[in-house]
Amino acid sequence: MEGAFILEKLILVVIVFTISLVIAMYSTLAERKIAGFMQDRHGPNRAGFGGILQPLCDGGKFFFKEEIIPAGAHKPLFILGPTLAIITACISSAVIPWGQTLTIGGREVVLQVADINVGVLYIFGVVALGVYGIMLGGWASNNKFSLMGAIRAASQSISYEIPMGLSIIALLMVTGTLSMGEIVAQQSGFVNWNIWAQPLGFLIFMVCAFAECNRVPFDLPECETELIGGYHTEYSSMKLGLYMFSEYINMFVSSALMAALYFGGYNFPFMYELGLSENWITIIGVLVFFLKIFGFIFFFMWVRWTLPRFRYDQLMGLGWKILIPLAIANIVLTAVVIVVKDTYF
């Protein structure tokens, strides 16, 4: 491997990492602003112009708060919990294609950190790993409410991984590849977006993404009214901050995933008909991709301030009795359509 290649990837990794952290930071502000808007109030507007510095203040506050590790807690695992949560949140963005190739000084730069040929499965693996952070943190706290939160998180994430996987299988039958780069490249233009081929699959995937991110209406692991704070009840200072941050990064990554898998990623309508040069198409593509991501993040927040929380048995019922059969029906339907298309058209 040549040095320039490693340097190029390193720069890309740093940029992606920074962008995810900044977006996670400003998602906290956006969340509160949107909550304010929906509840007919201003939201935070004191720090900086219109509250623009609020995330920095919050971050600083997290750093300066006293750090408490409870007496009965299991110390190494108590520290490992938030660490794992933030690591798994950050590494899942490695396979997302942010744009096409940029040509800088005769050198082609692919705007994707790693195009491994099992990209979709890689994301699954990382998502599955994410639950360890919550479980270990909740268990190590030596607190009943934390443990309840951890157990809820574990069973919820395992239950919703199944319909998520099944909805992805139907998508893979359409695309015929597991590589994220290829899946996005196939959806050029507007009519080729996978959402037109897999509307039901997208719906299932989105519901599962909400559940995997522990977002309302599926935020039972941290349900304040029942469990105080759920798995992070005993956490203070930046450790709590890391848990919150990982939740927002997960939200960003799953928005990116939905945009990439179903809404064409960096593809936009008439991208080749406007007579733009390659580099401009790439740059506009990246902007369009982020626009789609912000759209999904807004949707996440919109749902949070609109819908009430599920009851736990309703959550399990939805996962096992509605989403899984629907996802299997979707697979069968997709298979039938593909076979009919191949034989008769």
Partner: protein, 168 residues
């Protein structure tokens, strides 16, 4: 090659830690690390699909369930039941038998002279799918049925319990 030895050492080290640690939750976590090293082994063999599936199924699902059960039971060092001596002796004998068998099996093996270099891309999804659905279709389907039986069995067991509770 040195990478292989390093990963193999880590794998065996954590496998031993899994057995020797007293705390069940630590044991599970060491086992998770062991599975991770196995995933690395698969990647070294260029079996990307197997690596990722091992990662998802063992680390992401099965070990989470193990941890889940341990947390529900809240086992730790003090509540570990003392096994009777008879069980211990039987365990030692069974372990020795396994060890002897493995040793005997390994003694017979002779390293082949010619190095078999088959298709190195065999571990990629496309090749694996072709092999599974053409050459090994029957074993594949039979193992699918086996899994289905296990699944139905689990559902049946769960159902039975509900009925008994209702009667009482």
């Amino acid at each position: 090659m040195s990478l292989f030895y390093f990963v193999a050492f880590v794998a065996i080290f954590f496998a031993l830690m899994t057995i020797f640690t007293k705390n069940p939750v630590h044991s599970v976590l060491y086992l998770v690390v062991t599975f991770f090293t196995l995933t690395v082994h698969y990647i070294l063999l260029n079996a990307q699909f197997l690596a990722v599936v091992n990662f998802i199924v063992y680390m992401g699902a099965i070990m989470v369930l193990f941890l889940f059960v341990l947390m529900l039971l809240n086992l730790n060092e003090d509540t570990e039941p003392m096994k009777s001596n008879l069980v211990k002796v039987m365990g030692v004998i069974a372990g020795m038998c396994l060890f002897a068998t493995l040793l005997g099996a390994l003694r017979v093996i002779e390293p082949s002279n010619e190095i078999v270099t088959g298709n190195t891309d065999i571990g990629l999804v496309k090749h694996l799918g072709n092999v599974l659905f053409n050459e090994f279709l029957l074993p594949f389907e039979i193992s699918a049925i086996l899994l289905l039986i296990a699944m139905i069995g689990a559902v049946l067991l769960a159902k039975k319990e509900v009925k008994e509770i209702k009667k009482a």
